[in-house]
């Protein structure tokens, strides 16, 4: 018996019990739909994180003040030992590092006429914009000279510009941070949310000297954004920087480090690791529902074999071989799971579209996920259809014909 006939018989058998077939398929539909939707959410998040990380520059090396001694990361920003001199030493003695920018940050109230806002305030050097590949959409950035002279100039993130100036042009205007007037020299390009969900445009950037002395009142810096000559050099530079800083800070035991050095790939790895765990979790929950769907199919197929014992007997009496009967029930199970799979994919796509639209989560439809879902759906049909099909084929035609 050829395949088209088998398929036709299967469709006919399934359509005889429409409600039952639909309910049976529902398990697969939900399973596949959940897989597609969760994978697309996961992929969307991963893509966003990767993009955020790449926007920092793949050669980036991140040197943060902080201590590990009190336990993991509790000491971030908690020490006062990292200085601009450290940065200058790194630039001088670690040739793998091409450029670096110190960063101090704080929060302060910023006022323009009757508007005020409380953004993150960062103090740095012009290299910062280059290392982070962050240009201005209007005006310019401050100069080395202005850093040296601790000039009262600043560059605004678009969020800050919008909050303070609305539709006005901020360039050349004077704002106040506390009591100190600052001249706005530029507005940064919009960057949007970071991978961690923070609004990257909600910041004001000024020379680090100005921020250190006039706003935060400190002499140390929080971290250094550095850039290596290549991506590989970034990795190689880490131990050199660590050695140099230990020497400068007179640290013998690496456990006593008062700084963290990491590269972009470390951050990327950590982020993707987190994402992967999340995806795995979501995926395994979805897979469980797929298995449950498969068991539903098996259950219904077993019921169907029992109900159709006579039919099986008749088919055998008129010439169906065991293989014919087996194939018929197997094709029925696979048809159900595949139809469920296709509907599941469609509902998964609709679902992830709806999530993107109404919840604002980024989603990324993955062709791989669709292919895998299809294969898995078919596989489940086969896996859970084999036993009922085998049972049907094992029936003795004489017994089957007599079955009441």
């Amino acid at each position: 018996m050829d395949f088209m006939n088998t398929l036709r018989i299967a469709l006919r058998a399934l359509s005889r019990n429409k409600l039952r077939s639909a309910l049976t398929m529902l398990g697969i539909i939900i399973g596949v739909g959940a897989v597609i939707a969760t994978v697309s959410i996961g992929q969307g998040a991963e893509y966003l994180i990767q993009q955020g990380i790449e926007s920092l520059g793949t050669n980036a090396v991140f040197i943060a003040a902080g201590s590990n001694r009190a336990g993991a990361r509790t000491g971030f920003w908690g020490v006062r030992t990292l200085t601009v001199e450290d940065m200058e030493a790194i630039l001088r003695e670690v040739p793998l590092i091409r450029s670096a920018a110190p960063v101090v940050f704080t929060r302060a109230q910023v006022v323009y006429q009757n508007q005020n806002w409380r953004p993150r305030i960062e103090g740095t050097t012009p290299e910062y914009f280059q290392i982070r590949r962050w240009g201005v959409q209007a005006g310019g950035i401050f100069s080395e000279d202005e850093v040296r002279s601790a000039a009262n100039v600043c560059v605004l993130g678009v969020t800050v510009a919008r909050m303070l100036f609305g539709n006005q042009d901020p360039i050349g205007q004077t704002i106040r941070i506390g009591e100190i007037p600052f001249r706005v020299v530029g507005v940064l390009e919009a960057k949007g949310q970071s991978a961690m969900g923070e609004d990257q445009d909600d910041r004001l950037i000024a020379p680090y000297t100005t921020v250190q002395r006039k706003i935060a009142g400190i002499t140390w810096i929080h971290y250094i954004n550095a850039s290596a000559i290549t991506k590989d050099a970034a990795q190689a530079a880490v131990p050199q920087i660590e050695a140099l800083l230990r020497e400068r800070h007179r640290i013998r035991n690496p456990e006593d480090d008062d700084f963290f050095v990491s590269t972009q790939s470390d951050v990327a790895e950590m982020a993707t690791q987190t994402e992967r765990v999340m995806n795995l979790l979501l995926g395994s929950i979805a897979s469980v529902s797929l298995i449950v769907g498969g068991i539903g199919i098996m259950n219904i197929m077993l019921v169907s074999v029992t109900e159709r014992t006579r039919e099986i007997g008749v088919r055998m009496a008129v010439g169906a071989t065991e293989a014919d009967v087996r194939r018929q029930f197997l094709v029925e199970a696979v048809t159900m799971s595949m139809a469920g799979g296709v509907i599941g994919i469609a509902s998964g796509l609709v679902g992830s579209w709806a999530i993107a639209k109404f919840l604002g989560w980024p989603t990324l439809i993955s062709a791989t996920a669709i292919v895998i879902a299809t294969v898995v759906a078919a596989g489940i049909g086969i896996l859970f259809g084999i036993y009922p099909a085998w049972k049907a084929a094992q029936l003795d035609p004489i017994e089957a014909l007599r079955y009441e």
Binding site: M1, D2, G313, A317, V318, G319, D324, L401
Partner: protein, 286 residues
């Protein structure tokens, strides 16, 4: 009207003049039911020629159903040989037996055994699917078979829309569709009233007389056996009597003497003459 009075036992003889179609040689069938062994057939030898019309009679447990299952290649003898159309089928594999059932044997059952929610035409097509015929060939053969039993105008009716007699006629059409060598009917009238029973016997007699089809019929009713040409009586797994029916009844002559019960139960053999109540007229079927 006793059969036995008119013909004596003439065991194990093929009726003269017929080419041999079936030969059983010392066939035994033993079932193992747990600890118990049931000796259902105890050395049955018989020959059936082409064009014969044999009624197999006997009480339940006499072995007649077992004989039918073996003749129908649904079961294999424990001992002995079964030659069908010159082939020893007692040693064939399950797949080969399925092929024989498909090509050489047509079954008619007491319970009709039509697939529910499947049109008469598709029910009749069923054996042709396993024969691997093309859809066009299947369709034309199934329609032709329905025409032979006078149900061409009911081709698209479901079994639930047909009377018992009509269902059995669809089942006969299904049995005929692959042009088998033999028609095996297991109590075909067991679920039908007496008039409809005679109508079914009329079809079987017609197929046997006019088209030369070999018919083997299992029944426990003497009245039905009277329509056959030869009777095999079984008891305790053996043939007790084997004789030719001398004053054979002809269904076509009996029918007019029977009362018509009511319109619903009436199965009009000349279906074309009767008004077709169904939604499909015969002209639409073609």
């Amino acid at each position: 009207m006793s059969i036995e009075a008119k013909s004596g036992p003439t065991a194990n003889t093929a009726s003269g003049g017929h080419a041999e179609l079936i030969r059983l040689e010392n066939v035994h069938k033993i079932y193992h039911l747990g600890e118990v062994q049931v000796h259902a057939l105890r050395g049955v030898s018989l020959q059936i020629g082409r064009g014969e019309f044999v009624a197999v009679m006997g009480a339940s447990g006499s072995g007649k159903s077992t004989l039918m299952n073996i003749l129908g290649c649904l079961d294999r003898p424990t001992r002995g040989s079964y030659f069908l159309d010159g082939t020893d089928v007692s040693q064939l594999s399950k797949v080969e037996l399925a092929r024989i059932r498909n090509q050489k044997i047509g079954f008619v059952f007491q319970q009709f055994n039509l697939l529910p929610r499947t049109s008469a035409l598709e029910n009749v097509e069923l054996p042709t699917i396993y024969a691997g015929l093309s859809p066009a060939e299947r369709h034309s053969r199934a329609l032709a078979a329905l025409e032979r039993v006078g149900l061409a105008d009911r081709a698209h009716h479901f079994p639930s829309q047909l009377s018992g007699g009509q269902q059995q006629r669809v089942a006969i059409a299904r049995a005929l569709v692959n042009r088998p060598s033999i028609l095996l009917a297991d109590e075909p009238t067991g679920n039908l009233d007496s008039r409809t029973s005679v109508e079914i016997m009329d079809i079987l007699q017609h197929l046997n007389e006019e088209e030369g089809l070999t018919v083997v019929l299992v029944t426990h009713e003497h009245d039905i056996a009277q329509y056959a040409k030869r009777v095999l009586e079984f008891r305790d797994g053996r043939i007790r009597k084997d004789y030719q029916v001398s004053d054979r009844w002809v269904a076509r002559e009996v029918l007019p003497t029977l009362p018509v019960l009511d319109d619903l139960e009436t199965v009009e053999l000349g279906a074309q003459d009767a008004p077709a109540p169904g939604p499909v007229s015969s002209s639409e079927v073609w």
